[in-house]
C-alpha cells in the first residue's frame, strides 16, 4: 500500500525522524492559513506547495492545460493561493503517472529548506528495502540526491552504496556511522545523520514498510539532516497488525475497478489488451495472459479468483472484465484441484444467465477435478460459450475468436 508524502512524514515524525515541516490541505483558504503558520514558525517568507499524488516526478510534471508545476515555491500569501488554486482539483501529469495523469485532492504547504545559513546545503539519496538475494534489509544511499536514482545507478554505479542489516539485530552504530562518513558529513551534520538513519531504520521495521525512500535526504545550511520528500510503501500482508495504518489508504489513487475487485477478494490488475481472462492461481493467470498474447491477442487484465471460484466470484469477475469496452473475448481458465470444475461451470452458467446480453465470445477451459462433467454442463447449457479441456485447445479458440 502506497502512502502520500504528507502521511509518510507524519509517521516518520513519530519515530523522531526530522522532516521538512508542512501542513496538508484540500482548499485554497486552508493553504493560505497553513502558509501563515509556517511563516510564523520559520520566520521565512518562502514556502513550497507540493501536490499530493502517488507518483514521483511532481516537480517536473505539469497540471493539464496549464504551465503549473506539481511542486512550486511562493513567497507571499497571494503566491501560495494562486499555486494552490492551480493545482487543487487539477490533473497532474508526471513521468510516472502516464498520460492520463492523476487528480490532485490535497497539497502539502511546506517550509522552504533552502534558507541561508553558515554552510552550503547538500542533497543526498537514501532508501531502505528488502534485498531478495541476501534475504536481508538493505540501506541504499548515494551522494547524488534529488535526481532519478535509476539514472545514477546506470551512469555512475560507484556512487551508490549499500549497507545490509543483519536479520537478527537492529542497525548497528558502526553501520550508521559508515553511512554518514560515506556521505561526506562531519561535525554536527554527521551526528544528526547517524541519528536520522538509525531512527529511519526503526521506522522501516516498526511500520512494516516494503520500501522507504528519502529523496532528497537534505543537509540544511545549519547542519540539520531532514527528509524533504518521502515515498513509503507498506507491506500489505502486515497491515493486520497496524489497523491505524490501514485507514491511511487512499482509494482515489487506485484504479476503481481494482478496488471493486478487492471487495470480492479477487486479485485484479487492469491492462490495456482486448482479451479478458479469469483464472485460478497467480502463476496460471500470468501464464494464461502469455498464452493470449501468443494466440494473437493482448491480455486486458490479470485476474486471479483464488482457490474459491464459485458462482458469486465468477459473476463479479465477469462484470468487472466487461466494464472495459476494449474487451473482445473472455477466456476463463480454471484448473480444478480442490475446486471442482462442475461447480465452476454451474457458476459460469448462472452468472451468464443473470448478466444476459453478453455479446462477445466466452471461452471456458476447465481442467482437473470433474472436468468432463463440467464440459458436458457447458456444452448442454445452450449458451454461447465454447468449452475446452486442454490448454492448447483454449489457445486455438482464442485465436479463432479474434480472427
Amino acid at each position: 500500500m502506497n502512502l502520500h508524502e504528507y502521511q509518510a512524514k507524519e509517521l516518520l515524525k513519530k519515530y523522531n525522524v526530522p522532516v521538512q515541516e508542512g501542513i496538508a490541505v484540500d482548499n485554497v483558504m486552508a493553504a493560505e492559513e497553513a502558509y501563515r503558520q509556517i511563516k510564523t514558525q520559520t520566520g521565512n517568507n518562502f514556502a513550497v506547495v507540493k501536490a499530493q499524488i502517488h507518483a514521483g516526478g511532481r516537480g517536473k510534471g505539469k497540471i493539464v492545460g496549464t504551465e503549473q508545476r506539481g511542486v512550486a515555491v511562493g513567497k507571499s500569501v497571494e503566491d501560495i493561493a494562486t499555486i494552490s488554486k492551480n493545482i487543487l482539483g487539477g490533473t497532474l501529469v508526471t513521468i510516472q503517472t502516464g498520460e492520463a495523469g492523476k487528480v490532485v485532492n490535497k497539497v502539502l504547504v511546506a517550509q522552504d529548506v533552502y534558507y541561508s545559513g553558515p554552510n552550503p546545503v547538500k542533497e543526498f539519496y537514501l532508501s531502505i528495502l528488502l534485498d531478495r538475494g541476501t534475504k536481508q534489509n538493505v540501506i541504499m544511499y548515494s551522494t547524488e540526491g534529488g535526481m532519478d536514482i535509476e539514472e545514477v545507478a546506470h551512469n555512475t554505479p560507484e556512487k551508490i552504496f549499500k549497507e545490509w542489516v543483519h536479520a537478527g539485530s537492529p542497525l548497528q552504530g558502526f553501520q550508521a556511522r559508515k553511512i554518514a562518513f560515506n556521505l561526506g558529513l562531519s561535525g554536527e551534520a554527521f551526528k544528526n545523520c547517524v541519528k536520522f538513519v538509525t531512527n529511519l531504520y526503526n521506522a522501516y521495521v516498526g511500520l512494516d514498510c516494503a520500501m522507504l525512500e528519502i529523496n532528497p535526504l537534505f543537509k540544511t545550511s545549519d547542519e540539520k539532516i531532514i527528509a524533504v520528500d518521502c515515498k513509503m510503501n507498506l507491506d500489505d500482508n502486515a497491515l493486520m497488525r497496524h489497523p491505524d495504518l490501514a485507514s491511511l489508504r487512499d482509494v482515489t489513487e487506485e484504479d476503481p475497478t481494482e478496488v471493486e475487485a478487492g471487495q470480492y477478494n479477487l486479485n485484479f490488475v487492469k491492462l490495456d489488451g482486448n482479451v479478458g481472462c479469469m483464472v485460478n492461481g497467480a502463476g496460471l493467470a500470468m501464464a494464461t495472459m502469455d498464452m493470449i498474447k501468443l494466440s494473437g491477442g493482448e491480455p486486458a487484465n490479470f485476474l486471479d479468483v483464488g482457490g474459491t471460484a464459485n458462482a458469486q466470484t465468477v459473476e463479479a469477475g465477469f462484470r468487472i472484465i466487461m466494464k472495459d469496452p476494449a474487451v473482445k473475448a473472455i477466456l476463463i481458465n480454471i484448473f480444478g484441484g480442490i475446486v471442482r470444475c462442475d461447480r465452476v461451470a454451474a457458476g459460469v452458467i448462472e452468472a451468464y444467465n443473470k448478466l444476459g446480453n453478453i455479446n462477445i465470445p466466452i471461452i471456458v477451459r476447465l481442467q482437473g477435478t470433474n472436468a468432463e462433467e463440467a464440459k458436458k454442463l457447458i456444452d448442454e447449457s445452450g449458451l454461447q460459450v465454447q468449452s475446452a479441456i486442454q490448454l492448447s485447445e483454449a489457445a486455438d479458440l482464442v485465436k479463432k475468436a479474434l480472427a
Partner: protein
Amino acid sequence: MSVLVNKHSKIIVQGFTGTEGTFHATQMIEYGTQVVGGVTPGKGGTQHLDRPVFNTVADAVKATDANVSIIFVPPAFAADAIMEATDAGIELVVCITEGIPVQDMVKANNYLQGKNTRLIGPNCPGVITAGEAKVGIMPGFIFKPGRIGIVSKSGTLTYEAADQVVKAGMGISTAIGIGGDPIIGTPTVEAVKLLMNDPETDGIIMIGEIGGGMEAEAARWLKDNLRKPVVGFIAGQTAPPGRRMGHAGAIIGGADDTAAAKMKIMDECGIHVVASPADIGKTMVAALTK
C-alpha cells in the same frame, strides 16, 4: 528413492484442528501419506482425525518421531510456527500459509541459518512424491507416478504441468512447489539440484515467473550440470513493470528479472524454454526421445 518426502516420512500438521488443516490433512491421509499427528497449542492431549494432538512441536516429535511438518497456521503466526518446527529438529518444514509479512520471514530465515532444517515455501502448494506421500494441498489424482520432476513457484501451474506430463504418457517422481513469496526457504536452484541428483528422475520441469533472480541462478548451475533434460517456462511475459501480479514476489523490479531476460539466460544455459504454457508436456517428450 525420490526426494524430500516418501512413504516413510512421518508427518505432523501444525494448525491441525483449524479448517484448512483439517481439510487438507484429511486429503493427505486419503492419499496414503503417513500423518502421525498434529499441533494446536492448547489442544494437546486430544485426538483429531484419529490422531494425537500436541501442544508443541517438540512434544509431537518426542511422541511420534515425526521428521516432516506441514504448516497451515494463519499468516500472523506462521513465521513463529516455522521457527518452532526448526527448534524441535524437524528435517523438512513445508509452509503452505500465504500472506506472511516480509519482515517476519526475514527473521525466520535468519533463525534457520546453521540449523539442519529445510524449509519449503511459504505461500506454496507443498511437495508430492507421486504414489507415496502428499505433503501439500495439490489435487493428488493428477500426479500419476513416473520419472519427471517438477520445480515451480506456482500452484495451479504445477498442476497444469503435471497434467500435461501424464497426458503425454509419462508420470511424476516428485513435484516441489517452492512458493511465490519474496523470501522462501528453498530456492529454485536447490530444488533443481535435488531432482538432478535423484536416480528416479529422468527429466525436470522448471516453472518460474517474473521477479527475483532465482531462475537465472538455477540456469547458471544447470549449464555445467545438465545430466538430464530440463524444460523451462517463465510466467509473466506480458506483465507490466512495477505491478504486483498476485504473488507477493511477482513484480518486475529491474531489467534483469523480466520474463524475457530469464528465458534468454535459461536458453543460453541449455534449458528447453517454452514460450507457451501449453507446450510443457510435449516439449519434455521431445527432449527425452532426442
